[in-house]
Assembly symmetry: C2
Homo-oligomer: 215 residues x 2
DNA sequence: GTCTATAATTCGATAGAC
DNA sequence: GTCTATCGAATTATAGAC
């Protein structure tokens, strides 16, 4: 901890290079299929250097995942912080989330795989916790908007947040096939897609004159 | 083709038993990790009988997937066919879709895995085609509703349909962890969840007085 | 490189339904 | 008798061990 900024930041520092390399290697090959040696080679450093930065393969693996998730969490609040119209804020969140996933596609793939069938079973709660934290943050912002009347009082914020994440995850996973489907070509652009989703979510499908519905 | 109903339906007939067994075995173990022998054993028949029903392991695998998808496709139209309120129809679709996935969780897992990293790479288009067909059907129903003014004219039906599927897929995959999250316990019941999603999607998040928004 | 175990697929043959 | 489901044994293909 007592390093000076110079040491810490390091020009394209070893640590970050290591994390990137690990993300790439883990991403194809999975946890078990990736050797520290391979990661070290890719990062252009020796195995011992890897162990200087992280105490174990597990720790490195988790650091890769936590890094991307927390990184997004840090920026998340900004998307909502301003006093703009909620729909605008939501649109920005959605676009930025998609961009973030695109930028970190390897880590995202890692996370998704880890959730489907965990390589580190007993670490799952930890990862879920990380993701939940960001989720809770979005919920919180929605609820704040609801309090101030910028979102309808009866809206279910948890569900709304979930729809946001779910839709983005889906888009991320299937953007490839999706763009081939008739009617969705227009949506090939993530930004356009994000806007379209928010349009539906914010304005709803109901005709403009109608309101409540009974089941 | 010229079999009588008796022959075809067969009391818990071998064919269906085979498909069920195949779904179970393929579901854990994946395509490569599952042997015809294991499937035959599970279905209580000999290997040769398997090949009597299906020309190859591949064909069996695909039949399992196609079966579940087409089964849902057949019932899909009914969910929309009536003249009830769109929100009601949407709610039913959402609930039935979740139920269908729950009933066929093994096949669903198979499909999701197949899409993530395909065991039968060159069959992917076929599977996508199957799924797309159901997707297109939902879009079609939404568009019909839009024509008749039961959904607002400016709504993007493709995106709305995608949100439906995406949300359900997400729920299916993460229902476990989800129910642990604070604020989502209430949503543990799939039916309640389905209704909540439709509430958001149909009515939107906008305050009841407000309408269009510029970005 | 050969040898071997494992898994896919093929080949008759049998038994029962209509 | 023909048709279909079923089986046991025989035949390939393949991947890994040595």
């Amino acid at each position: 901890m007592p390093q000076s900024a110079t040491t810490k930041e390091d020009t394209a520092g070893g640590r970050q290079r290591l994390l990137d390399a690990a993300a790439a290697v883990f991403s194809d090959g999975g946890y078990a299929g990736s050797s520290i040696a391979a990661i070290a080679r890719r990062a252009g450093m020796s195995k011992s250097t890897v162990f200087h930065h992280f105490p174990s393969k597990e720790a490195l693996y988790l650091a890769v995942i936590a890094g991307a998730v927390e990184d997004f969490g840090q920026r998340l609040d900004q998307f909502f912080s301003t006093s703009e119209h909620v729909a605008v804020a939501l649109g920005r969140f959605q676009r930025e989330h998609l961009r973030h996933m695109a930028r970190h596609r390897q880590v995202v793939r890692l996370i998704m795989r880890e959730i489907q069938d965990p390589a580190l079973e007993y670490k799952r709660p930890l990862i879920v916790e990380l993701l939940s934290s960001n989720f809770a943050r979005v919920v919180h912002h929605l609820e704040a908007a609801r309090e101030t009347g910028r979102i309808r009082k009866s809206a279910h914020c948890h569900v709304a947040a979930l729809v946001l994440f779910a839709t983005n995850a889906f888009f991320f996973q299937h953007a490839g096939e999706l763009s081939g489907l008739p009617g969705l070509e227009l949506i090939a652009d993530p930004d356009d897609f994000a806007d379209a989703v928010i349009d539906v979510l914010y304005r709803g499908l109901a005709p403009d004159n109608e309101h409540g519905v009974s089941r």
